[in-house]
């Protein structure tokens, strides 16, 4: 090898080394191990520290959140002296806001099965879930309002509990809305405005669009009287 060839080879080597370094820099710029992954957990992350592999720790049984007192009151149980109550807790006066909140929460958590009208004809039922009873029956009109709270809190038959997803006050708001729904389908004529009464005598166009089976289960609604 001549000196000439030697120095050219060295120059080429340098250039090659530069490109290799540049390439390594580019390829590793996506790998942030330093500050991107710190020694901290995001919620529900995996942990190698705890035996069950969960970073989010389960609550110790029986804990009461700070600021919450006794949990055996009407607000938390739907019961007074062990009996399902037919009144709302003092802390939660039934206002228009409460009912509207109840409507919003009902449409998130309950309509998939119970339908927007509460007739038990929701989308999941149409896909094969057990059909829940319509709210518009004499039996469910007669139950105390605490019963709805209790069903949401503890579940009922094939229906799971919604306590972990719907906070206590929202459960009461939903109960208030169910009462409103029931009333909307069962209002006595004396409670109705003249223009609504006039509508009653016209052919029911809205209902005709609904599923036939719905009309059957909506026993005793205002239209049938």
């Amino acid at each position: 090898m001549t000196t000439q060839q030697h120095s050219i080879a060295r120059a080429v080597n340098r250039v090659a080394a530069f490109f290799t370094l540049a390439l390594v820099l580019v390829l590793t710029s996506g790998c942030h191990q330093d500050m991107w992954n710190q020694a901290k957990y995001k919620p529900l992350a995996k942990s190698t520290f705890f035996a069950d592999g969960l970073a989010s720790r389960p609550q110790v049984p029986g804990v009461v959140p700070a600021g919450y007192g006794a949990r055996d009151t009407l607000l938390y149980t739907g019961k007074v002296d062990g009996q399902l109550a037919n009144s709302f807790p003092e802390e939660l006066p039934v206002t228009r806001e409460l009912i509207l909140r109840g409507q919003q929460r009902f449409e998130i958590y309950c309509t998939p099965c119970h339908g927007r009208l509460g007739d038990g004809n929701g989308m999941i039922v149409q896909r094969g879930f057990k059909r829940p009873p319509s709210y518009h029956t004499d039996r469910l009109r007669a139950v105390p309002v605490g019963y709805f709270f209790d069903v949401m809190t503890n579940g009922f038959g094939t229906m799971y509990s919604y306590a972990s997803r719907v906070p206590v006050k929202d459960r009461w708001a939903i109960a208030a809305y169910i009462r409103t729904l029931q009333y909307s389908q069962f209002a006595p004529e004396t409670d109705m405005a003249p223009q609504d009464l006039a509508l009653l005598d016209q052919p029911v166009q809205g209902l005709a669009l609904l599923d036939k089976s719905e009309a059957k289960t909506t026993e005793g609604s205002a239209h049938h009287e």
Partner: protein, 218 residues
């Protein structure tokens, strides 16, 4: 003494110098391209999850609200990933024999949670909070894309700092009425800038502070 470099080497040096400059530019372009490409950002790249959960079927097909599963999105920094029990509130009765759902049933039986892989993940030095965005009128679709059309979940946006900032500098272009946050079909009105400014005012959005480094790096 013989010359170390022959005459020819001058040309070679010029060619090499040009190559270095061009190469550096090329690499720069490649690096930027790569930096913003799905290969690095993982945008549009679906993850293979334990169960091939489909937002397309559950949200668009069945009309289930985001909050049925992502319960804490309005109240906490964390949107919430549904526990197995939430799946079972329907799948205790629906598709009970499907092989695809075997991991869900096994998890319910053993009480061992399903291991979902994170799709959206900002670095640990970035502070993010869902509740403030949702309550001030930023829709899920603005940051996550058309989730209701995803058969497998993928990232809808790069989630890069520049992307966060284009909104933090001018939120009025993106805000919607709070009632439309969960609506995946909402379209901005023709006078979005005017309506947006109104929302900025009514929701008390402090635009002048939103680009401070300490908002996101604290």
């Amino acid at each position: 003494m013989a010359q170390i470099f022959p005459k020819k080497a001058n040309d070679l040096v010029k060619v090499l110098a040009a190559a270095v400059v061009l190469g550096a530019c090329g690499l720069g372009t490649m690096a930027t391209g790569l930096w913003l490409s799905p290969f690095i950002t993982q945008q549009d790249v679906a993850k293979q999850q334990v169960v091939p959960f489909s937002h397309l079927h559950h949200v668009k097909g069945l009309g289930i609200d985001c909050r049925y599963c992502h319960t804490t999105v309005e109240t906490s920094s964390f949107a919430g990933i549904p526990p197995t029990e939430t799946c079972m509130s329907c799948h205790s009765q629906i598709w009970t024999n499907a092989k695809m759902l075997e991991p869900v049933r096994a998890s319910f039986k053993t009480q061992k949670p399903l291991e979902w892989l994170r799709v959206n993940d900002v670095p640990d030095f970035v502070y993010f909070n869902h509740s403030i965005h949702v309550n001030k009128g930023v829709g899920c679709v603005t940051c996550h894309g058309q989730v209701d059309e995803m058969a497998l979940t993928h990232k809808g946006q790069t989630l890069r700092m520049g992307w966060c900032l284009q909104c933090h500098r001018a939120p009025e272009q993106f805000l919607r009425p709070p009632s439309e946050v969960f609506n995946m079909q909402w379209q901005p009105p023709a006078d979005q800038s005017a309506k947006g400014l109104e929302l900025v005012k009514n929701n008390h959005v402090k635009v002048e502070q939103l680009t401070n480094c300490s908002v996101c790096h604290r």
